[in-house]
Amino acid sequence: MDITALSVIEVNKLISDRKLSAVDLVKAQLEMIKQREASYHCYITILEEDALEQAKEVQKRIDSGELKDTLLAGIPMAVKDNICTKGVKTTCASKMLSNFTPTYDATVIEKLKNAGAILLGKTNMDEFAMGSTSETSYYGATKNPWNVDHVSGGSSGGSAAVVAAQEAYFALGTDTGGSIRQPSAYCGVTGLKPTYGTVSRYGLITYASSLDQIGPIGRSIGDCAAVMEAISGHDPKDSTSIDRKNIRYLQALKEDIKGMRIGIPKAYLERGLQKEVKDSILNTIKILTEKGAIVEEFDLGIMDQAVPAYYVIASAEASSNLSRFDGVKYGYRTPNFESLQDLYKKSRSEGFGTEVKRRLMIGAFALSSGNYEEYYKKALKIRSLIYQIFQKAFEKYDLILSPVSSRTAPKFGESLSDPLKMYSSDIYTVSVNLAGLPAVSLPCGRDKNGLPIGVQLIGKHFGEEDLIRAAHRLEQAIGDLRYTTHGKEA
């Protein structure tokens, strides 16, 4: 049996029945990383000795009975490299932070460690989470485990690929405009973007504070639910964290979807979808109907302007957030400078990559006097409209179903050359962030070349239980499209 192919829930049973130790599990996982990492490049940093040390400590806690109520005891995980990990380099895939080692753990890391999860390493991503392919990483792109000529998606490309390639059981990603959902779709795994405010952002190196949210990527919705149980909840260290009684993520797996109302924005199926993507989406609609859901098309209203509004808002927030990188307190400092101003400028010019610079300038443009009303404020008003449109739709529906992306994973170099084309591919995902809604991306088919296709379910605010319920039913009906990347090697 290849234990690295199991789900979190399956392997947890082996651990709690004492059929497998945390140390042996980590060893098996490190062996798999050794075999595959050179082909896919999912990680920026891999912990070996340290992961084994953690496993020994966790095994002691398991033996003492301390961890019997958590599904994550002894489970090896990977974390996107924009989430701070104490004593472990956190680079944001940027030269700017290539030598940065946080002195504290992000709240999510603290929570996962308490639950007994073991940190294997930090995953590759687009630099500062800006990109849709993971090609803007300073450390080179992550390859799609289904076909290495194709991208893994982005920005959490490493986190999605690591789960598909069996180089970790689950991973944390972050989603500002689709960065958990789109790579999950491209890599054939399941990703959940929680409602804004559900998961603490303390210790996340921010891109756009009003849109960013941390969430799990796993081999099944059940695994994502298990991670959500551990990472969600109010955190006094994050002023945008919501004080709210916890949602019963795992319980939702047991419930059926009879009578659930699901809406499909009509225009979403009409625009240029790759044929196999459309067919797979239609198939999921059929399944959901068979399972007792009431599925119908409806007119969602303006959505075309979600993409420009998103890029204005995200870039504006980024240009403010990234002003902290100045080569003084931490991060890259240029070796040659004359004055303080010169030090700032040269450190930033040498430390940031092209896409980051581009977005900083877009942000500065939208915020500058003379442009503020026409671009930034206009975008905020459109955000308001999008929020209202979704609120209205959720008076009628429990969930909204849509594609994640119009196509399967592109080949390397296809998207990066044309920024506008790259941005417009985010049409199905960005509006969810603008409205702060939860959404899940899960596998629903493959195209003729064998590349995975994902479907997106969008829930109302704090509607994660509905999402998990429907995703679980779909997953069971669609069958094992999951983590079978390496069927041919098994």
């Binding site: 030598n99 302007q305 420009p308 101003q341 008003k381």
Partner: protein, 95 residues
Amino acid sequence: MIITEETIQVLANMVNIEVTEKEKKQLTEDLKQIVGSMETMNQVDTEGVEPMSHVLPIKNVFREDVVRNGDDREQLLKNAPQKKDGSFVVPKTIE
């Protein structure tokens, strides 16, 4: 809005970035396109719509004014590119 190489230079100064002549040309082309697409926002009637900077009601979080973190000066300075006598080093800023 017309984007020229001068616009790019102004923006670069605002975000404290140096751009080469070649980068400036490329960024001018990129921003022309991107700003053009942003202008499609004008097709949406937003008369009377309140701008929304945050989706959930946010209020300031207060806590008792007591020190809770320890003295982690050494830890924090570990990431500093240059340090001296427990402080960050920067070039001289006044004559």
